[in-house]
Amino acid sequence: MAKAILYDSTMCIGCRLCEKACAQHHDLPYNDEVAKEEKLSAHKLTAVTTHGDKFMRCFCMNCVSPTCASVCPVAALKKSALGPVTYDSTRCIGCRYCMLACPYQVPTYQWNSRLPVVKKCDMCADRVAAGFPTACAEACPTGATKFGERDDLIAEARQRLAASPGQYHPKVYGLEDVGGTSMLLLAAAPFEELGVKVGLPHEPMPLLTWRALSEIPSIVSVFGVLLGGVWWISHRTEEVQTAERAAREKKS
């Protein structure tokens, strides 16, 4: 069944061990300089952001109906049954439509490379497929980042909200936002104050373009018949005129 991550901001101490583990697993450089960058980039697939005394994690939400996977013209981005949204760099043409379309501005690009590819958190798809938790969840010393079954984690998040309502902002983020995400978030403050996009539609984003795309067969058939018909009529008039002229000339 689908896996997920529950990140509880109230348990996070901002130690950034998740960042380090992520960089190690994805063969990316990690040092004090990189640790200070509080935003995603081609060399930083997850970032802990500071908001006063609170923390938030920034990573690919691995949406249930991913916008990026729907817009990719070559199906380089795919949603796997286990949860991760994976990226196959051998298919990518570099159109960067995924970057434009992602409601969370997650995919990043190797701008200074001559042969660039897209970089984003893939929820450690290889580890998850082998039955392990993600690198960040394994590294987390406080349990703020927890890996598990999505359904179980949703139940646990609701339990935490019910157990200590005063401690939390009353919402589990990721239940229905953009149709649901694999990353579930809990926090003490409204999510927008912690830099998380809110107010996104609850229906999956890919439906927005699918509505237009699904009209194509109708447009093709209606236009085909219509144009063929117009051609037939417009040239028929001409035929009749020629025939009538010939008949008139014959009479006179």
């Binding site: 729907s70 995919p107 200074n112 001559r114 237009a212 236009f223 144009l227």
Partner: protein, 388 residues
Amino acid sequence: MIPLRNGLKWSFWQVVAVVLMIAGLYATLIRIMKGLGGATNLNDQFPWGLWIGFDILCGVGLAAGGFTLAAAVHIFNIERYKPILRPAILTAFLGYLLVILALMFDLGLPYRIWHPLVMWNPHSVMFEVGWCVTLYTTVLALEFVPVVFEQIRWTGALKFMRAILIPLVILGVILSTLHQSSLGSLYLIVPQKLYPLWYTPLLPVMFFVSALCAGLAMTIFESWQSSKAFGKHLELPLLSSMGRILAVVLSVYLTMRFLDLWNRGALRFLAARRTETYLFLLEIALFLLPMFLLFRRKVHTNPQALYGCAVLVLFGFVANRLNISVTGMEAASGTTYFPKWTEVAVTLAIVALGFSIFRFACQHLPIFDPQPTVERVRSRAPVAVAGD
């Protein structure tokens, strides 16, 4: 070869074209050596810039005269538009080739441009765009190639092309309709990023109708330019009637825009003193002004005024596409974007290349003279084709 009275003017523009192309080559070198980061001001927050906004979105729109006139002449049987059909097809064909060229600059891995043809994702608008570009460029090549056959007097091939012409034109109109509208559909996926003055579920329809305006304006523009450059008689009655049609299409488009803003309750955004508001008003004004002017007899029967209106519409069209791809996307991205000189240089070089190839083709192929009278073409005397 070149009419004497225009000799000086043309050599000036030729120098400009050469300078632009040299600058473009240098920018190309930077693009290859330093990647997109070195050649553009794009970043993770703002991944699409001038190359998509102008070279692709405007390039495709300005080529819309091709399918509009092909449909008018071959499907609706309006014979009198025939003299300007070939230049329009040539513009469209060149336009699409240059769009593909521009795409080679913008794609991160241009050598994989063929991937969408074999690695399918029918849920992607970009996939549809890729297929439309490929197929319609092929159709345009087939619609244009009879001109070459005429020049080399290959009657067998001409006969064959004539036999498949009607299905080909119908296919071309369908592909164009899909392609023009799909460029608008690309932005359907960003309701939270594109400013409400431009984001509407009707984007594909808006793109299609505004492309019709651009196509008609482009046809008037190039007919006027060509008559200057080649000392050709201007088909004024023809262009006047196109000016009238343009006025009607413009008013349909503007009515749709207004109703859409009204229905979405987006008119209130006009009260905001923001860059978006001013650039939106500029875009609308550049369509509204020529619309009012073109409805006047004095304007649409005067070649200069007609030309001026066409230029206004072209600017309005470019403003609309840049507003959607740049202005409207900036606020939500959390960053600002202004193209780097290399982006501008590549764009200008591609435009210069387009003008140069168009001119070259007009000099060496029977573009303005549809009759296969080889002697007339060979002598290259200015040919006055009757306006019917």
